[in-house]
Symmetry: C2
């Protein structure tokens, strides 16, 4: 029986030799790459790679070793290809897909569309981002917002990335693909609900409360202190405020933002009535122009892949190898294409970073389709 | 200048030697693993692995090679650990987390809770799954459904996995974690909307249409043929049917399921009015009992990971290495833990499969937390 130390000494010796072989292999691969690029051949050659895997696993019976060797070579190939993609970058090619760097996304004089009614949280998010000198208008659905921006009737649209009655997160992603718009900014808005009523109302006069279902649920602890109140769900919080204002009845209360309360001339009866664990919503700003702030630090992409074991894994290897931090991943089957998948990835970085370019060139070459949603 | 063929011949020679070293390394690793398990030591030893990476990358200046070697060794370690986890399996340990195999999930005499109103699609989904011999009741929110099942007031709950006004997809996942319930089944329900009205109504008499926003959007093409109709959004499709029934006005129409139309004694004026690309919704069945059908073919898990480059990648390697097909992936930050993430994975397989056990044992040992949501 070998001791742990003896075994580890043997490993150290093997590792030296293994590294030597690895280094030689990468050097030759680099030469192969240069020849391939010169000949105008694709870097990724799945048939040749499969042949090599068949060759190196030949004669192995143990399924574990067979799989292990295949995995090992998949990784060596990926690394070789990354080295070969460098040739493209050295030639001045990039994977920016036409995105142009700008100093800032300014709101002055711009036409900004938000989805939702006046006084909705998306209205507030839009104003937070673009400020006083922009022009605002609202539409009903995500699709309306996308169409208006595509057709140039607005410069930017602000949309919630959380679920709402007007659409789902996934819908925004699908629309970004369909309308070829880009994300140029995001707003994380602290959500703070008020209970508001008309001028003549007070906490004591309230008998019925109106709001969106989610806002009601978020304010459950507060509402539990008033068990006699009748709760009524409405399409959104701003509509609830409008309804209470028009009803002009001191028995009615609305759960809504402070902004909506003000807009519909209501009186705030209680502030910050929602629980702290539901305290923010994310909104994105989309535009037709492909631009990114020079200090943008998050990249969102959409990748289409065949439904094969390992296809996502290999794509992620480009992100990992380049040391990029992934912050979000989401899969979605592609409609009408049962065995293909669309993945949405967010990772940290700026389009002008070398590591980001390396990763994107690799992903672009090894997926069915790569679309950069934006860098913001 | 070397020709492509010369270079490839040199690669073939290097690969033979590389494979030889790989094989030797795996054999020694296996011995190391056996000693470690005997000594009661953890299979994963991040400090020792980091030392080894420092050792093998020592003396390399090229950042590409340095990263490449580190990646290569990460993979060799992962493979060695997989081999070492086999020792646990050979000892009869498993990663089933107490799940018991059953022949079927029978509905006879069972108390089934669905989220939503009578006649809602979730009601239909529940009936499709459990049949005529079960007892049904409904609750308002996802949370109510989970609480009822946890407290034993119901045997099963049926919940939509799409977004709805009662909650979001992510909420169901969070509730599965919080209430420690399991998924034991799923129903993919074809969604087919009708336009329904009271007995005295006809397509010609309709002036106002009531339904849930999403159903209205899904039926847009049909509604576009009737531009004069006024569209009104309600909380859900079944409530719309109920409202039209109670109003008893031939000018009112509801977009709802055939089931809801029947339940509220309405007359179907038009069938299948929704577009084909929104034609199904997925529901899950949750239970307190940890059971899985012997022919179950999909596994859903929740994995908690630190937010480090590569942590997800290494977890996925267990899925890939064992040849399992991943069908869904979703990330979600953990509330109050800014730098930790929760991932939801679906992959194909049955808990009694060797490949599934191998993958789960690896994932369990290398993540902060693994929870099997279910096999169904």
């Amino acid at each position: 029986m070998n001791t742990l130390e003896e075994l580890r000494n043997r490993l150290d010796k093997i590792d030296k030799e293994l590294i030597e072989k690895y280094k030689e292999r990468m050097e030759i691969s680099k030469e192969v790459g240069e020849i391939k690029v010169e000949m105008g051949r694709e870097v990724l050659d799945p048939i040749r790679e499969q042949e090599k895997i068949n060759q190196v696993t030949e004669g192995f019976q143990d399924p574990f070793l067979k799989t292990g060797i295949a995995e090992l070579y998949q990784q060596l190939f990926t690394q070789s290809r990354m080295l070969q993609y460098q040739v493209f970058i050295n030639r001045g090619e990039d994977a920016k897909q036409g995105f142009q760097e700008v100093d800032e996304i300014a709101g002055k004089g711009k036409r900004v569309i938000y989805q939702g009614v006046q006084g909705a949280y998306s209205h507030q998010a839009a104003r937070d981002f673009f400020g006083e000198d922009a022009f605002y208008t609202n539409v009903t659905t995500f699709k309306d917002a996308f169409e208006a921006v595509r057709e140039g009737r607005g410069d930017y649209a602000v949309l919630p990335m959380e679920n709402s009655s007007a659409g789902k997160v996934g819908d925004v992603y699908d629309l970004l693909v369909k309308y070829d718009l880009s994300i140029v900014g995001e707003i994380v808005l602290p959500i703070s609900h008020t209970l508001s009523g008309v001028e003549s109302s007070s906490i004591e006069s309230i008998e019925r409360v109106y709001s969106h279902n989610q806002a009601i649920m978020q304010s459950k602890e507060f509402l539990n202190q008033h068990p006699k109140w009748e709760l009524n769900s409405m399409e959104n919080t701003a509509l609830a405020a409008k309804f209470v204002s028009e009803a002009n009845d001191p028995r009615y209360g609305a759960i809504c933002s402070e902004e909506a309360s003000k807009l519909y001339q209501l009186k705030v009866l209680a502030k910050e009535i929602n629980q702290v664990d539901n305290n923010s919503t994310r909104f994105v700003v989309v535009s037709k122009a492909k631009i990114y702030r020079k200090d943008a630090e998050k990249i969102s992409v959409c990748i289409e892949l065949p439904h094969e074991t390992g296809s996502l894994y290999r794509i992620l290897s480009h992100v990992i190898f380049n040391g990029l931090n992934m912050t979000k991943i989401l899969s979605r089957p592609i409609k009408h294409k049962t065995w293909e998948y669309r993945f949405f990835l967010d990772f940290e970085g700026n389009l002008k970073d070398g590591s980001v370019q390396n990763a994107l060139i690799g992903i672009e070459n090894e997926s069915r389709k790569l679309k950069i949603f934006g860098n913001y």
